[in-house]
């Protein structure tokens, strides 16, 4: 795809090559923000999904409200609210949280992304848990599993596997969403692209390089998930008889 672009457009390839180390740093920043928030958000999502699926009397409505609010508003606004908004309060600016964390764009992006992906992952995992075939649960009860043992040995492993296809979409959406970081001064892939275009007064080079890099990452993610699906969902594929 990228080669076709390069052949078609009169791009200044030498400029891209000269600044490629910056782009590589951008790739690193994009990847670490995306995957750290996915890991942290995923970890928060697991107990929340369990509470939602088991219809915990107090926690369920609270978590529902959280996921509804975070899924109903743009990631850009969430990020702005944390990065630009929190500084409005004198209390926070005086607190120990301000200097190392809340005044830093990277931390604000990480917090916003984590809260966002946690909301989506919670609903996704809740769906997978609720859809667990009843027979699996009955078999677990029949073989004498406790409530916790059932969850840990049967329901969660089964739900995680069935959530893989939908989760691959969430991972790609999170990667796409991470471009928001470039709007709060961070030099992620798009940030470097914007910097290059601004610095040399270009129209395409920075954006097209960024587009190509994102495309490659998406291809890699898709490939990895396809591998994971064939491995972990083998029991659900149709047999060739």
């Amino acid at each position: 795809m990228m080669e076709q672009f390069l052949a078609w457009f009169p791009l200044d390839i030498s400029l891209i090559a000269a600044n490629f180390d910056r782009f590589l740093y951008g790739v690193w920043l994009t990847l670490n923000l995306t995957f750290l928030s996915l890991v942290l958000g995923g970890l928060i999502a697991i107990p929340m999904a369990i509470a939602r699926a088991s219809r915990h009397r107090i926690l369920n409505p609270i978590i529902w409200a959280y996921t509804y609010v975070f899924r109903g508003t743009p990631l850009l606004v969430q990020t702005y609210l944390i990065y630009y908004g929190v500084g409005q309060f004198e209390v926070i600016r005086q607190s120990w949280l301000w200097d190392p964390i809340l005044s830093q764009a990277w931390w604000c992006a990480l917090i916003a992304f984590t809260l966002n992906t946690a909301a989506y992952s919670t609903e996704l995992l809740r769906g997978a848990i609720v859809d667990t075939p009843l027979g699996e649960v009955e078999a677990a009860i029949a073989s004498g599993h406790s409530k916790w043992g059932r969850l840990r040995r049967i329901i969660l492993p089964s739900a995680f596997r069935r959530a893989i296809p939908a989760y691959s979409n969430e991972v790609i959406f999170m990667l796409h969403g991470s471009v928001v970081a470039s709007t709060i001064t961070l030099q992620d892939i798009l940030g470097v692209g914007r910097w290059l275009n601004g610095r040399y007064y270009l129209a395409y080079e920075g954006f097209i390089t960024a587009a190509g890099l994102y495309f490659l990452i998406v291809l890699a993610i898709t490939f990895a998930f396809r591998k994971a699906e064939t491995r972990y969902l083998r029991h659900l594929t149709r047999r060739n008889t």
Partner: protein, 229 residues
């Protein structure tokens, strides 16, 4: 709270622009989605390839990158093209056109998948029954495919539309004075960024909640007579 009231005109005009932009891009993406679904399901191999390349490319590149590429790059391309062909002079792409056009084309790719799945869910025998009754193609589409396609597509449509509505927030980055942009400038000038971003947050939440409720009501209407598992 008083400050928000003071800046209500700015917030309202931003909200209005966000809604207009979202609806304009929705029209574009539904057209692209129908064309894409038609191409993916057609017997023509070139059409299928083209549609596959379109959906793959869009899924691979973040929306903001494409919006910026169209807004900054498209401007130069159009003018170079006009100069080379001598057909038109200097054109300026409006931020609204760049935003609505790009978001429309991007979400057209997601609607392509939604509509394709919905058309495939219609039992083939019903269309054959239509043919054997001597119905012309337009009539088959209107009476058999469309009502059922809407029914099967609505849940996916609702999801995609909600994402699309939220994505329009990105146009503030290319300087379009939408809800985020106006809330941000109001917050900057008053030094109360949290207050105004929170206001924008609540307005977006209201917009998505209204869409959600309305589309669910529509879903119930179109599900009449259908059996839900």
């Amino acid at each position: 709270m008083d400050l928000i009231f003071e800046y209500r005109a700015q917030l309202l005009s931003g909200t209005l622009l966000t809604v207009q932009l979202a609806l304009a891009s929705l029209v574009i993406s539904v057209i692209f989605g129908l064309l894409g679904a038609w191409a993916k399901l057609s017997a023509n191999r070139i059409a299928r390839r083209f549609a596959n390349a379109y959906t793959t490319l869009v899924r691979g590149v973040p929306d903001l990158v494409l919006i910026m590429l169209v807004f900054y790059g498209g401007q130069v391309t159009l003018n170079n093209l006009g100069e080379a062909l001598g057909l038109w002079g200097y054109i300026e792409i409006s931020q609204f056109a760049a935003g609505a056009g790009t978001i429309g084309v991007i979400f057209g790719a997601y609607f392509t998948e939604t509509f394709r799945g919905a058309i495939m869910a219609i039992p083939r025998g019903q269309i054959e029954a239509g043919i054997s009754c001597g119905m012309p193609r337009g009539l088959i589409f209107r009476h058999i495919i469309w009502p059922q396609m809407v029914r099967f597509a609505l849940p996916g449509f609702t999801n995609t539309w909600l994402v699309q509505l939220k994505t329009t927030a990105l146009v503030s980055v290319i300087g379009l004075q939408d809800l985020v942009y106006n809330a941000f400038t109001a917050g900057r000038s008053t030094g109360q960024l949290f207050t105004f971003m929170a206001a924008a947050f609540v307005i977006y939440l209201t917009l998505t909640a209204i869409s959600d409720i309305a589309l669910r009501a529509l879903d119930r209407r179109y599900s009449v007579g259908g059996v839900r598992a």
